[in-house]
C-alpha cells in the first residue's frame, strides 16, 4: 500500500520514551507480583468489592459527563474570548488540581454542607447532598474538571480559528459552528480530556472521603474500599487496586479508539 509518511522521529528519542514507559509500567508489574493469585477471585468478587466497583463506574461516568457539560463551555470561553481577569480565572480553574484532595473535600463541605455557604439555600430547596451518591459525583467532578478544561483549551488554541471564521462567513450561527466545526475538529483533544477526567474520577479518594463519607453501595467507591481493605487485609487491597487498573484500562481503550490523524 502507498502510505504518506511523516518526517520521522529522531532515533535517540526512543531511549527516554522507553525509560518513561518503564517508569510507569514497572510499579504495575511490582503490584501484579504482589497479588495473592490463589485467593484473587474470591477477593475481588466479594460483595463489597463488586458494590464498590459498580459505584465507581457509575459515579465516574456521571462526573465525566458533568465535566464535559460544564468544562467544554469553560474551555471555549477561555480559548476563544478575551476579557479582563481571564488570566487569573484560568489559573483559578486549575486550583482543584493543586489543592490536596482532602482540603478540596473540606472546601466542598464548607460550600455544600448544611452549614456551608449554600447550605441554607439547599435546605430551603430540601436538597440533601451530604452522604449521598451525588456528593461523590460532585467531589469527583471538582477534582477532574481542570483536566478537561486545560487539555481542551490547549487543543483549541493549537487548532486555531480559521475554519470557524470560514464557517461563520458561510452563514453558520455560532451554535452551528460549535457543533459542526469546532467540536469535531478538536475531538482528539476533547477525548483526551474526557479520558483524563474519567481516570482521575476513578482514582479519586481524598475529596470523596472528606465530603461524601464512606458507606457501602452509596458513597464507598473502589479507592475507598481499597484504602479500607488495606487496614485489615493488604493482599485484598492490592488485588482490588489491580481490578481498578484493569477496568480503567479497558474503559479508556474503549473510549479512545486510535483516531486516524487527519
Amino acid at each position: 500500500m502507498s502510505r504518506t509518511r511523516t518526517a520521522g522521529l529522531p532515533g535517540w528519542l526512543y531511549a527516554p520514551a522507553a525509560l518513561g514507559a518503564a517508569f510507569v509500567l514497572l510499579p504495575l508489574v511490582a503490584i501484579v507480583a504482589k497479588v495473592d493469585w490463589a485467593n484473587f477471585l474470591d477477593l475481588i468478587t466479594s460483595e463489597s468489592s463488586r458494590a464498590a466497583l459498580a459505584l465507581s463506574l457509575r459515579t465516574s461516568a456521571a462526573s465525566t459527563a458533568l465535566c464535559v457539560l460544564i468544562g467544554v463551555p469553560m474551555a471555549l470561553v477561555l480559548a476563544r474570548t478575551t476579557f479582563p481577569g481571564q488570566r487569573i480565572l484560568r489559573s483559578l480553574v486549575l486550583l482543584p488540581l493543586v489543592l490536596p484532595p482532602v482540603v478540596g473535600g473540606l472546601a466542598l463541605l464548607y460550600t455544600f454542607g448544611r452549614r456551608g455557604l449554600l447550605g441554607h439555600t439547599l435546605e430551603v430547596l430540601d436538597i440533601r447532598i451530604a452522604f449521598s451518591t451525588i456528593a461523590v459525583v460532585l467531589a469527583q467532578t471538582f477534582v477532574s474538571l481542570p483536566f478537561l478544561v486545560v487539555s481542551l483549551e490547549g487543543s483549541l488554541r493549537t487548532a486555531g480559528d480559521r475554519y470557524e471564521t470560514v464557517a461563520a462567513s458561510l452563514g453558520a450561527r455560532p451554535t452551528t459552528v460549535l457543533r459542526r466545526i469546532t467540536l469535531p475538529l478538536v475531538l482528539p483533544g476533547l477525548l483526551a480530556g474526557a479520558v483524563l477526567s474519567f481516570a482521575r474520577a476513578m482514582g479519586e479518594f481524598g475529596a470523596t472521603i472528606t465530603f461524601a463519607g464512606s458507606l457501602q453501595g452509596v458513597t464507598r467507591t473502589l479507592p475507598l474500599e481499597i484504602y479500607l481493605q488495606r487496614e485489615s487485609d493488604p493482599d485484598a487491597a492490592v488485588a482490588l487496586a489491580l481490578v481498578l487498573v484493569v477496568v480503567a484500562v479497558l474503559v479508556i481503550a474503549w473510549l479512545r479508539p486510535e483516531r486516524a490523524a487527519r
Binding site: Y163, A167, L170, G171, A172, R173, P174
Partner: protein, 348 residues
C-alpha cells in the same frame, strides 16, 4: 446603492472607499500586498477596521463611529478566501452543503444543491471524498462551489480561478459569468480576462489606496495607473450579433471567435482583442485578416518601448520602428486590421 464601503486599517496601511450597486460585480485589482484580501475580510466581518463603515442594502455591517459591528454569520455575505480551507472532517459534499444547511435548508435540499454546484464546477465525482484526498485544483473548485452554494446577498471571491487547469478555466469562467450576472459581487483577481468578462467595474488598489476606478472596459482600455497599464491591452467593441459576425453601430462588421454561449441573432455582444494584435496599414491589404477598420490616427503615445496608436475607439500597439517606417503622424488615414482568430466575441 447596495454596498457602501469605507475603511482604514492602520497596521496594513489600508484606506479605501468604494460602492457597488445591487447586482453589480466589482473586480478588485492590484499588486500583491495591495490590500485586496484585507478589504474582503473587513466586509465579511473577519477583521474590524480602525475606522470605517460598511453598509449592505439597508443593513449596517460595521460602523465604527456608531459602534455597530454585526457578527459574520448575520451579514449574509459569503467569502471565498484565498486558501480553500475546506473543513477537513467533512466530506466534499458536506462542505458544499454547509452553507445551505446553515441558512436553514433541509438536509436533502442542501445535498441536492451541493451536488448541483459540484457538477457546475466540474467536481461532481468528488462528492464522497474527504478534502485531504483531492488535488490542489480540485480543492479550489470545491471551495468555489461552497461559496456559491451559500447563496448570500453579497459574494466575495478571492482569486477564484487560482490553481485551475487550462481545460477547466474557460468552463468555470462561463459558470461564474452566469452566476455573477445578477448578483452583487466583489471579485479579487490577477487575470485581466476575468476582470473584463466577469466584472462590470474595476477598482485598482495599490499600497492600500484606490488608484483607479471605473467601468471595466474603460479602465483597461485607457489605464492611468502603472498597474492598470500592465493589466491593460484590450480593445472592446460593442455591437449586435448577426449570426456569424457582429455589426457595430457605425455599420462595420467584426468577425471573431465566439467564446461561451452562442449569441442569438440580434443579441448584444462585445468583441475584444488586444492592441498587440492590431496591425496598421496605409492601404487596405488583401489577406486572411477579415477585420479591417478604416480610421484616422488620433494619438500616438509611448508605452514602454512600444507606441500605442489610438484611432477612434481602437488602439494598436506597434514598435517605434514601424511608426517611423510607415511615417505615421496624427491625422494619417490608416487601415487597422485584426485577425478574426484574435477577436473574442461574448454575449452580453
Amino acid at each position: 446603492m447596495s454596498l457602501e464601503f469605507t475603511a482604514t486599517v492602520a497596521d496594513r496601511g489600508l484606506e479605501v472607499a468604494f460602492e457597488v450597486a445591487t447586482g453589480e460585480t466589482l473586480a478588485l485589482l492590484g499588486p500583491n500586498g495591495a490590500g485586496k484580501s484585507t478589504v474582503l475580510s473587513v466586509i465579511a466581518g473577519l477583521l474590524r477596521p480602525d475606522t470605517g463603515r460598511v453598509v449592505l442594502d439597508d443593513r449596517t455591517l460595521v460602523a465604527t463611529d456608531e459602534r455597530v459591528d454585526l457578527a459574520p454569520h448575520l451579514r449574509e455575505v459569503a467569502l471565498l478566501a484565498q486558501e480553500p480551507l475546506l473543513f477537513p472532517h467533512l466530506s466534499v459534499r458536506e462542505n458544499v452543503a454547509f452553507g445551505p444547511r446553515s441558512r436553514g435548508r433541509s438536509r436533502t435540499e442542501a445535498r441536492a444543491a451541493a451536488d448541483a454546484w459540484l457538477d457546475r464546477v466540474g467536481a461532481a465525482e468528488l462528492g464522497d471524498r474527504k478534502p485531504g484526498e483531492v488535488s490542489g485544483g480540485q480543492a479550489q473548485r470545491i471551495a468555489v462551489a461552497r461559496a456559491l452554494a451559500a447563496e448570500p446577498h453579497l459574494l466575495l471571491l478571492d482569486e477564484p480561478m487560482a490553481a485551475l487547469d487550462v481545460a477547466v478555466t474557460p468552463a468555470l469562467r462561463q459558470t461564474l459569468r452566469q452566476v455573477l450576472a445578477d448578483r452583487t459581487t466583489v471579485l479579487v483577481t490577477h487575470d485581466v480576462l476575468d476582470a473584463l468578462l466577469l466584472a462590470d467595474r474595476v477598482l485598482v488598489i495599490d499600497e492600500g489606496r484606490v488608484v483607479e476606478e471605473g467601468r471595466s472596459g474603460e479602465v483597461l482600455a485607457q489605464p492611468r495607473s502603472a498597474f492598470a497599464a500592465r493589466l491593460a491591452g484590450l480593445n472592446l467593441l460593442h455591437g449586435t450579433w448577426r449570426g456569424d459576425h457582429a455589426v457595430l453601430p457605425d455599420g462595420s462588421q467584426v468577425h471573431g471567435i465566439v467564446a461561451g454561449p452562442e449569441p442569438a441573432v440580434g443579441d448584444l455582444v462585445v468583441a475584444t482583442f488586444r492592441p498587440h494584435a492590431v496591425a496598421v496599414y496605409l492601404e487596405r491589404p488583401v489577406g486572411s485578416p477579415r477585420n479591417v477598420f478604416a480610421t484616422t490616427i488620433d494619438d500616438l503615445e509611448p508605452l514602454g518601448d512600444l507606441i500605442r496608436v489610438r484611432a477612434g475607439q481602437l488602439s494598436a500597439d506597434v514598435t517605434a520602428h514601424s511608426v517611423a517606417a510607415l511615417d505615421l503622424v496624427l491625422g494619417t488615414a490608416a487601415q487597422l486590421t485584426v485577425k478574426a482568430t484574435e477577436v473574442a466575441i461574448y454575449r452580453l
